[in-house]
Symmetry: C2
Subunit: 369 residues, 2 copies
Amino acid sequence: MAKTVGIIGGGQLARMMIVPAIELGFEIKVLAEEPGSPAKLAATVGDYTNLDHVRDFAKTVDVITFDHEHVPIHILETLIAEGFNVQPSPDALIFAQNKLAMRKRLAELNVPIPEWAAVSSVEEISSFLERHGGVAILKTATGGYDGKGVRVIRTAVEAEDWLASGSALLIEEKVDFVRELAQLSARNPSGKWLAWPVVETIQRNGVCAEVHSPARNANFEAASKIAETIAKGLAVTGVLAVEMFETADGQLLVNELAMRPHNSGHFSIEGSVTSQFEQHLRAVLDLPLGSTEATSAHAVMLNLLGPETLNTFSEHFESAWALENNSHIHLYGKGYRAGRKMGHITALSSESLEDARAQASATYNALLA
Amino acid sequence: MAKTVGIIGGGQLARMMIVPAIELGFEIKVLAEEPGSPAKLAATVGDYTNLDHVRDFAKTVDVITFDHEHVPIHILETLIAEGFNVQPSPDALIFAQNKLAMRKRLAELNVPIPEWAAVSSVEEISSFLERHGGVAILKTATGGYDGKGVRVIRTAVEAEDWLASGSALLIEEKVDFVRELAQLSARNPSGKWLAWPVVETIQRNGVCAEVHSPARNANFEAASKIAETIAKGLAVTGVLAVEMFETADGQLLVNELAMRPHNSGHFSIEGSVTSQFEQHLRAVLDLPLGSTEATSAHAVMLNLLGPETLNTFSEHFESAWALENNSHIHLYGKGYRAGRKMGHITALSSESLEDARAQASATYNALLA
């Protein structure tokens, strides 16, 4: 009989996982934080920090997986102890939740990462800054995403509020990178692992704005090898996104990890034989993974962020579609807020990255008009 | 703001319309006959033959459209009179519901159709049989689909039960066709109309078993012209499927019409830039239609019919996916019944129809193993 996948978190990632569940005939249930979430079609409302809520939800599904990495590890460990199927397991997920744990483990695996240190005092921060040219990245070990919990600092004074809060902190060298890449892959509990070609990600104001697939002239083999080492070394299941810096001398340094479908992989809905959302379902159900082959030579994804003036984008479909280009619009059904990820556009081209980008941009501009 | 599309009927067509609604951020609601329908994620339960149920549903959406053509015309006419937006309108839908009305109207439009007559007596039937080589197709004017309400007869005796029932009947020549084609197109209320390339449909036991897109060596222009004449002449909105016979001398004769996404168009999910399900939503919302260009030179769709022995197919995903071919499996989340349309497989090939068919067949066999 068809399996039921349970997703904790009702955001756009859960929403986009509903699509392959419908196509493949899997049952799907979502535990959402509030009514009216992007994933509301499949959602019940509950508190993912409440063991009883999460357990009650787990009882109705065959496997628990995630739209975000904020479920407390102790809750997931309790579920595991009680015999529930959680993918990825808390033993892996901890490395996506806690950047200190992640840095330690990646260092053990000899994965290339920026220089870093755990810090808990002004002295340790000052010392690290001195050794790294007077500038560094300070991060909270937990709770950061989309630029939150991350700060560029030049003096220890700038760390005082976080130090005072008692949050575990780490500091990292400010890598002089030429661009950022993201390596998407997936692994199932049986150990099968498969990668998409590495993509370039372009951030604006700390938020992913643009993704180019595949990344131009990238070291595909090195990027894929890093992801494989991490996926297998950390026993990740489901989709793993490895965000990396590429330096001027071509070195790849791992920045962040996400153990779920990821913004850098949205292009795969149209751009790959198997989308990251379908792959995540296959992987957490321990089914064979699907081909990650590209459907077109080039794909460009642009995030639709809410502009300052009210714009839910759907009111501009007519002008966007009048372009009759090869762009695909995705909206997440979210209430409007400036700066919010409201949707994305993916354009494909067999010709060139520039052609794909021009099409996506034209659609973007039509939706913003 | 995002529009809400309301679909009457909770079958697989409604289910497959949920997907583009999620992608494009349209709200979607379904009025299903019973709980646990294929479209249950978006469904409320109600009786589509009950005006109050349908009106209450209509009040919650911006446009009413359909998963099937069984909603009584008088209910839809009442909704129109009350100012609701119904696409296609009952003025068009009547020609998909009533084969007598359809034959009369297509004759007026000079659309090529089989020879036919309205019949209500043994004498009329015998007379038609005599003039057509002693064999003909008897049809009930309403209520037929998937081979139901259609009967090959050689004597008027075989019509006695239907005559006794008082059903309106028509009789048609038994066309000596070489194959069956289906021409899919869509039209929006503003009058924009767009066709996909005509496909070949292969029926077994009166049910669509297989679709080849595009049809090999077909008269694409003639097929498209017929569909355009019908779509515009009948003021159809949304997707229109025109089923046709192709005779040995290359003539195309219209057999049936459907005014909704249709089994012959399932290939378009992967095989076209815009699927018939997305196109239907765009059309009924009077938005620009999307490109019907093929994503691959050849597509083959096989229906997954429930075999005699219990098989819900999902238990065979592992062996089907182990093939690692270019097939896409779709399951409808239906309870098992032998002969029931449980899902379909679409395979694409840039090489040949044979290659696409071989891939789809391999997946089909794996799912039936």
